[in-house]
Symmetry: D3
Subunit: 240 residues, 6 copies
Amino acid sequence: MKRYDGREADQLRSVKITRGFTQNPEGSVLIEVGMTRVLCTASVEEKVPSFQKGSGLGWVTAEYSMLPRATQTRTPREASRGKLTGRTMEIQRLIGRALRSVVDFKKLGERTIWIDCDVLQADGGTRTASITGAYVALVDAIQYLIQKGSLKESPLQDTLAAVSVGKVEGVPILDLAYPEDSRAEVDMNVVMTGAGKFVEIQGTAEEVPFDRSELDQFLALAEKGIRELMSEQKAALKLV
Amino acid sequence: MKRYDGREADQLRSVKITRGFTQNPEGSVLIEVGMTRVLCTASVEEKVPSFQKGSGLGWVTAEYSMLPRATQTRTPREASRGKLTGRTMEIQRLIGRALRSVVDFKKLGERTIWIDCDVLQADGGTRTASITGAYVALVDAIQYLIQKGSLKESPLQDTLAAVSVGKVEGVPILDLAYPEDSRAEVDMNVVMTGAGKFVEIQGTAEEVPFDRSELDQFLALAEKGIRELMSEQKAALKLV
Amino acid sequence: MKRYDGREADQLRSVKITRGFTQNPEGSVLIEVGMTRVLCTASVEEKVPSFQKGSGLGWVTAEYSMLPRATQTRTPREASRGKLTGRTMEIQRLIGRALRSVVDFKKLGERTIWIDCDVLQADGGTRTASITGAYVALVDAIQYLIQKGSLKESPLQDTLAAVSVGKVEGVPILDLAYPEDSRAEVDMNVVMTGAGKFVEIQGTAEEVPFDRSELDQFLALAEKGIRELMSEQKAALKLV
Amino acid sequence: MKRYDGREADQLRSVKITRGFTQNPEGSVLIEVGMTRVLCTASVEEKVPSFQKGSGLGWVTAEYSMLPRATQTRTPREASRGKLTGRTMEIQRLIGRALRSVVDFKKLGERTIWIDCDVLQADGGTRTASITGAYVALVDAIQYLIQKGSLKESPLQDTLAAVSVGKVEGVPILDLAYPEDSRAEVDMNVVMTGAGKFVEIQGTAEEVPFDRSELDQFLALAEKGIRELMSEQKAALKLV
Amino acid sequence: MKRYDGREADQLRSVKITRGFTQNPEGSVLIEVGMTRVLCTASVEEKVPSFQKGSGLGWVTAEYSMLPRATQTRTPREASRGKLTGRTMEIQRLIGRALRSVVDFKKLGERTIWIDCDVLQADGGTRTASITGAYVALVDAIQYLIQKGSLKESPLQDTLAAVSVGKVEGVPILDLAYPEDSRAEVDMNVVMTGAGKFVEIQGTAEEVPFDRSELDQFLALAEKGIRELMSEQKAALKLV
Amino acid sequence: MKRYDGREADQLRSVKITRGFTQNPEGSVLIEVGMTRVLCTASVEEKVPSFQKGSGLGWVTAEYSMLPRATQTRTPREASRGKLTGRTMEIQRLIGRALRSVVDFKKLGERTIWIDCDVLQADGGTRTASITGAYVALVDAIQYLIQKGSLKESPLQDTLAAVSVGKVEGVPILDLAYPEDSRAEVDMNVVMTGAGKFVEIQGTAEEVPFDRSELDQFLALAEKGIRELMSEQKAALKLV
């Protein structure tokens, strides 16, 4: 089987990670995965939400949004509608949870890192691209805090990246673009650490339920993709 | 290891499914899983959302809410706050998606079935209890449509139930109650069909990422629990 | 005249009051008046609204909601609409005002008791059933505070119950069920204390204005009904 | 007993009704009751709400608001807060219900009359002044429709006015001004027709419950006050 | 050219300024400019917004609203819609900015003056009438603070008034009424101080862009109108 | 006087206009003015708002937003707050009005062009950069409609650009960056057509009112800046 864009079943789209895309944030990363482009920023705020006050512990939270014309037809702006869609809420909760899983809040101290993921162009996989890009922005924000002397050591416990996998016309494939995503039988998002462990698995059978052996295939594809994404992260961070 | 309530690691809490709990809805089910109690109703509406109009296809959608004092301390009412929390949105999207996966919309015809899951008492596992109970309410609503002559055959393609699994103090366990859920290292919700296939897997490592062998253990526990829940559903529906 | 359900003009529907319906609240009462079923809970919060802070005085407030399918056809959820209807606001203000009328805020001390009335099934008279049931939940919450040692004596000054009366086809009747309520010429809600005094009278001529002698008949019916409801409250509280 | 402003217990404040206060509305009435001043307008719209469409029946609805500095200290604007208070909802529902009780919707035909009551200055009794003033505005709007040829005969079935009564320091009094209202033991609003019948009775014991004989005194005071208000309405309408 | 109401191109409508229109506010002014009537009140609050706290500086802020039937056909109430329109926001920001430009916040001290402009009748020029009237209400509120001893000297640095100018059928005209405003080619609002300097110029070419020489004509008209409005303000304040 | 960044008083910041910045919109332009960067897109929708339906006329409307970390410290997201700020409303109304002034709605036909201006990085002058960039995106969208055959001729009547001018430390300057804008004595935004006429002038004296001769200086600076911006637009559109 050839995919609509010529990729192999287990092939990622081309990935490009640009640090310092904008100047104001402590971390600012443009991640491009094929046509999908997300601006991920990390902003340090020297206070924590009320449930964390006085605990000595920090916090990481995320917000996600799509520009109205990131999509093929214009999507009404959530700010104009006056409320977030369920999809947005679900995605920003996922991003926040994923990033919190690799941060030691005691080491971070009583401060919040705000992650903002704004999709400039959407072509499938925006939530996983957001996590992969936001991790790099988070590293830059942590680095900023260390250089400024606010932190002595990094509160990061591991590296983190995410990818989507799914089944289209009965074939398990890696990194679904929008034309694939919109007709996938199964859609799964996987977040993993550098140690090769799962932080989050969200698999949904849109049309046809899947069994254990298919699940194994999905997870193998995801692992392969995430290892490659982590190489891109390292290269961008000049760690290789 | 003994669990706080004396259960084995692979043991469900006691389950009770009461049909016809209220008189107005086409399907009305009270499901009790241990101390968790959810009223699940299915309401037939003879029209569909605009995206489905004229297609000949039906729709199933779900809403979820907790009574303010379902919880140990009072939770502010979403209607008074004027908006749904992200948690509620995430849960009601999950319930709707899960139930849609076993319904043939062509056979249902241009009508909507509204699923309402209202938690009267919360002790962990409210979203999975909602799915398990809502499936039974859905069966009753379908039965009502058949008896009334609106449907010739059932649009249901398979049975459906859901359960939570997780890891507490390093041990994989089935059907977490709130005291377990609140300190779980991993929390996973699994939705399966009667054919033993996955409709939804949502696993989150709150604290400690998990590996493939642990995932296998979680899924085995989930399968066992879901088979037992399906027996309860069948008994309630007098199919056994 | 025989009523549609065989009752006499001055006859209440059957009443059932179940205490401890759910475990978490300090007071939890299911009240059933005919087909109408309302879950009334009383929750203690150890603080007061800002207008009462530092005064040494307590507060009682109420919220009211109907489950979407409590009604014969599904009513959209207020939490999803993002705002309360005028009807809900009006009812919850009435419930709060009524219960506050029998509480000595000085004796209660600087704490709030939240009353939540959630209608599981609606067949007319939900606001008066809410008041009658909530009074019992309030007694239980007060009892809880006394047993816990937070209160030395009860701040309750009197007992309280409520009933609806109205005129249908020219005949004054007690305790209107929905089929009567929806075509009543006059609809009146009456809240009284155990001492036989009025706390609230809300009478509305939907179609035909009423005169003084009719008002006298309504109030006589209401008094009779409320005395009977108070017997049910006492029996439920094991005071008789 | 002398009242704080020298009135007798059964004495209304001075009443002034100015028709045509503004030019745009079909009916525009400034009603002044002592220091309370309410601008009541009636606006004709040639359509009805969806629940009335195609029925051949008209509708009357009301909205109520206070200017921020109608009160002694500034009250935040509801438009800025983004939602109506419960008090506003309750009052505008009362005004609408009261006016609808004297209109024959069949004769009105499929059109809506919007009543807007905007309080320019508040000194107690704003809701009853609104009803009394709005009735006159409604008459003017009906007259406009008749002169324009849209209506052949008036759909008004009776006249309508409203007043407050209450108990202060144990004494029943008529037409409470704010300094009385704010410390009243009982507060009651009464709406009556020209035929001397009740359209609405809303009595609340803020502090001390009241008995039947007190109720009789309140209603006698209300009747006296409403008869006098109706004379003022007639004089303003040049019907006397 | 004769204007529709017989005015000359450079002629204001008749202006009437009534102080003390309502009793509660520290300043309360009804300004009438032709058929346009705006109630402008100034309310003193002894605290400042959070951004000004502890600075020793005061604040002036404004809110603007139209009664629903100020307009020729009824405009839905913003409080009922649950949000302000962009037009309202724009206008109230303009009014606040204009008034702040003549107040010395150090002399005012840490208190806020709230300006409320409520349009009772709209016939064009409501925002400029609001500014002209609000200035007089502000003077009265300042006077109140001086008489009460809260202020030693006035924080007002200059006088202030505003007017609209525009181009209709190619002719520059002063003080547009609604029938002119609705078909103007250019619409410009000008706010000036007593010293003859500009505080705000907002010019919009609705249809036909304008050039420098036209701008000069507009500004000359505005200056003339504002000088006349300032005479009216002075007369109302009995300063002449 | 030297400006903080070395510019002359009448010097624009460097300008860069990139067409086709994203692929989905019919027009997509990244405009960079110094550090200010705005993504301006133009989206064609084949319907018009209700007030324009059946008229044969088209419509142009604009929305504006800043990414949360476009600013030096993070600004809360309007979509999360649930409403637009007054500043946003004011700006998007200005952008829409400006662009509409150069479009012939009859030639556009019954379709809407949505302009979205999303600020990726803010350093002063975002609203004028938005207009200048949006004009180019609009040209591209029109071109798309012509090439597709939907339009026979361009409905554009003139070119359009905008710039800010102001007074800092008593000196009139062109194109204020944020450090200048935040302490400007006068702030003015000017929108002009290619014919050298004004579409919009919005001048505000934040601190010190200005006189006619200063106004003349501001407008001369604006004209110079806008002529230069129009050269950049032409170069980007390859019209030179």
